[in-house]
């Protein structure tokens, strides 16, 4: 941060306005001159994403058996399944709670709803919606409890959210393995129950809830991609040349615009050609518009909520709880609301996940959800304090690609698919550890006192917050 002398109220206002209009930074606000591109920092900031890109490219080179249409079918399917869960992580990050591993608790709430609905053998889209409705109150209560816990473990939220997932798992097990049957009266001999009528069997069949959302409306893949590519291209054109800028907004960087535009155009053209020539690309599974719509809706919702008073409060609390509090924002409540929203979204995300899978593994389905979602959002370039919708979506794509390719690479290189599976477990935990570790390391390095730093008032506030003033 550079501190340059205040040019003073005597500065020539017209001149400054002209500079602003020309897209220049104010003198004295940022370091003058073209900043040299800092490769080292850029590498450090993007190392996790880069590792994944390298891995995926390597995967395509090494694993010969992977056809593009199989890969795309797998990938898309996994995106429909997981994107909602990953998006559930964004709001807690913005509100300063860090990465909420506690979405596992939400997932279990969703599973309880599914269990109830399936017990009464309700199926189809109606059953799906009933699951969603039932999960809501359970998730709200769970979210409120975890949120309260996070407020009591301030500064340790991430380890607390991990442990609360395990704790919740214990409680959940107690419910599905013991309470159901032993305390909650059930119909004897129900096929979902273990022999002895206490506790649930390992798996619950989703029945006609399977694909309830997926099968609503389906369109072929290639035309869908053509439309997507074309729409995005048109949006870019409008954004770059026709949109009226609000004060403070800037146009997209020219290079970025060209790359994006070329890519979206390429996607549209490739799939148009594929569709006409009936190539292998058309073999990709049909697109379930319902699921896609729900994911898009959540993305829009997340963006929208940031434009409300509540979203503004999230952002305030996320930046500095002390300042937010002293300006009269109820920080504790805001954090609880953020946790509740995240938990509810996780519950819904889990139901969407399950209707795609088709069976509920009562005792194991939820256990890895937290890790996978967090790893995905981190791979997308998010951090403990910053996460966006596009990072979540990008991360899901990269992460799931790695997931698909790992066993293939293991098979191709070592002749052992299991090795690939161990490797991807390593990637999941490694990515989380590496990303979080780098984040803390950088933060510690920055807060280290250095003699020649100009006095930074922001640091001062942070220091005072830490010292509990």
């Amino acid at each position: 941060m550079s501190i340059v002398h205040f040019a003073g109220a005597s500065g020539d206002r017209a001149k400054r306005d002209a500079q602003v209009a020309a897209g220049q930074q104010l003198p004295g606000v940022h370091a003058p001159g073209k900043p040299k591109f800092d490769w080292k920092n850029w590498l450090l900031d993007n190392i996790v994403t880069l590792i994944f890109w390298v891995f995926i490219i390597l995967g395509f080179v090494l694993a010969e058996g992977v056809t593009i249409n199989w890969f795309l079918t797998e990938l898309c399917n996994r995106i429909y399944r997981n994107a909602f869960l990953v998006l559930a992580l964004i709001i807690p990050v913005v509100a300063g709670l860090g990465l909420n591993f506690g979405i596992v608790v939400g997932a279990m709430a969703g599973q309880l709803a599914v269990v109830f609905v399936r017990y009464h053998d309700i199926g189809g889209f109606g059953g799906f919606m009933l699951c969603m409705a039932l999960a809501l109150p359970i998730a709200i209560i769970c979210g409120w409890l975890t949120g309260t816990l996070y407020n009591k473990t301030r500064g340790q939220e991430m380890i607390a959210s991990l442990i609360v997932g395990y704790f919740g798992n214990g409680v959940y097990m107690f419910i599905v393995l013991f309470l159901i049957g032993a305390v909650i009266p059930v119909q004897a001999g129900h096929p979902m129950l273990l022999p002895g009528d206490v506790g649930l069997r390992m798996t619950v069949d989703m029945g006609t809830i399977k694909y309830a959302l997926e099968d609503l409306v389906k369109v072929p893949f290639a035309p869908f991609m053509v439309v997507c590519g074309a729409l995005f291209f048109l949006y870019l054109i409008w954004n770059q040349f026709f949109r009226k800028l609000k004060p403070g907004q800037e146009r997209m960087n020219k290079l970025k615009f060209i790359v994006y535009a070329a890519l979206s155009l390429a996607v549209a053209v490739i799939f148009l050609v594929a569709d006409i020539t009936d190539s292998a690309l058309t073999m990709v599974r049909k697109v379930p518009l319902g699921t896609v719509a729900v994911i898009v809706l959540l993305a829009v919702f997340t963006k929208w909520i940031m434009t409300t008073k509540l979203g503004q409060d999230f952002r305030s609390c996320g930046q500095n709880q002390h300042i937010a509090e002293s300006n009269g924002i109820n920080v504790d409540r805001t954090r609880i609301v953020a946790t509740i929203i995240s938990t509810v979204l996780a519950a819904w995300g889990m139901i969407i996940y399950l209707q795609n899978i088709g069976t509920l593994n009562v005792y194991t389905a939820h256990t890895q959800i937290g890790f996978f979602a967090v790893a995905a959002v981190l791979v997308g370039g998010a951090s403990v304090s910053k996460a966006t919708v596009s990072q979540a979506l990008m991360g899901t794509i990269l992460f799931q690609s790695m997931f698909i390719l790992s066993p293939e690479i293991g098979q191709a290189v070592f002749g052992q698919a299991i090795l690939g599976e161990y490797f991807r477990t390593f990637m999941v935990y490694g990515v989380i550890g590496l990303a979080l570790g780098l984040y803390v390391w950088k933060a510690n390095k920055q807060s280290k006192l250095r003699l020649d730093d100009p006095e930074d008032p922001m640091d001062k506030t942070v220091a005072e917050v830490v010292s509990g003033k």
Binding site: H5, F6, G8, L26, V29, Q319, A324, G328, P457, M458
Partner: protein, 531 residues
Amino acid sequence: MSDDILRFKNVSKAYGDHYVLKGINMEVRPGEIHALIGENGAGKSTLMNILFGMPVIHETGGFEGTVEIGGEDAKIMTPHDAMTKGIGMVHQEFMLLPGFTIAENIKLNREITKPSLMSKLFGKRLESLRVTDMNSDARKALDTMEMDIAEYTMVAGLPVGHMQFVEIAREIDKTGIRFLVFDEPTAVLTESETKNLLAAIKRLAAKGIGIVFISHRLDEIIEVSDRVTILRDGEWVATEETKNITAAEIARLMVGRALSIEREEGGREISDEVMLEVKNLRVKMPGEEVKGVDLKVRRGEIVGIGGLAGQGKLGIANGIMGLYPADGKVVFKGQELKFNDPKGAIKAGLAFVCEDRKGVGLLLNSPIDLNIAFTALQTEDKFLKSFGPFKISDQKAIRAHADEMIKELDIRCTSAAQNAGALSGGNQQKVCVARALTQEPELLLVSEPTRGIDIGAKKLILDLLRQLSEEKGMTIIMTSSELAELRSICDRVLIVCEGKVAGELAPTASDAEYGLMMSGSRVSKNEGGED
């Protein structure tokens, strides 16, 4: 207009039995710039806490007397009450969020919103922000300050001076602001920024806002204020029209003690040997930054370092001991000391009694004997005995030494096994001194030795220091906020202001001289261009 006066009537405040404010009367008229000055602990911040209904006041039994606005009891119980009464404050530390624009900061938690379908269904917090309106409000407030930076600029990366202005703009933007408190607003500003700020404050006053201007810089007070109120030790000393009073007069009133300073001369020998020489020392200690200090200490001397809080006096000893990043040159007995090497400093023969007794000075949950022996054990391998191939601490020797120290320094405790945290402040301080003495140092650095200690114990500590000097010929550098203390035992007193030595005074110098020097008057006159 008279019905708009803000008046403190006979305001007192006690924490427990200890009165920190005694019968303060003060009034602020609309359009007036009323300066408030006093040393640390004079009661300025307590008075302001009362004005803002801070929880720290009301959770500790409230206060006596009344705060009136326009002749009526204002009944300010919460900071929110203060806001609705039109009282605002510009904090010394900035309360700005770096990731927000200027406008978002100005409107923090007072955002303009519009209802939407969602907000009607799920509550007011889902109302959408009206960014355009927020920006234009912010623009208005910034224009009042004649500040021409764009309202949609991010706060992160703004120069300090701008941030101060954003803070002020936030207060102005609050509807019906009538009184505005500035708490040391120029402390972090450069000279030109200060000029701009003072001009802005004058403009605000001209619009009819009553201003309380808290500052230790006498020159600024003389320049900007209409009246000045001086507090000392929680008591009202004087309120004067600024044009009728001189800086020297204010300084005298601020420092002057009713108590006379007791001082015993003689009994010590000071050699000509320069024991410690410090050249251009800079220390990065948060809140107490040192920006280039020169200092010479002769063997056998007691040198005092005084000055107001936050001016850097505490940073000097911390820097010499290597506890914060520092550079410059420190020569001790002809040998240059390395920086950021506490072990080296200790081994060279320096010992430090830290100002933060509970935070840095002691292991509160460990027994007294370990506290006393610790540093000597670690750096000089004392109190160790062999245990097979290892050396473990010799509990017996540690205890014996502690008992000796307890007797010598008269530390009141049940036994040497008592935890240090259980002792009273004065006795804790003695434990710290005992640890320093166990190191058998040649130079003792003592910071704020009497902070948070009752009066009886204060005298014991000071006597102890003098005794050390007289009987053992110990050289001492004592840093303290309490001038009277420094003047009672030191041979000479250096006053630190804005990270530099403002000058050296004899203990017998007048109150006015001390006051002026602490307020940096001379600094800004002689070295005007410093920034």
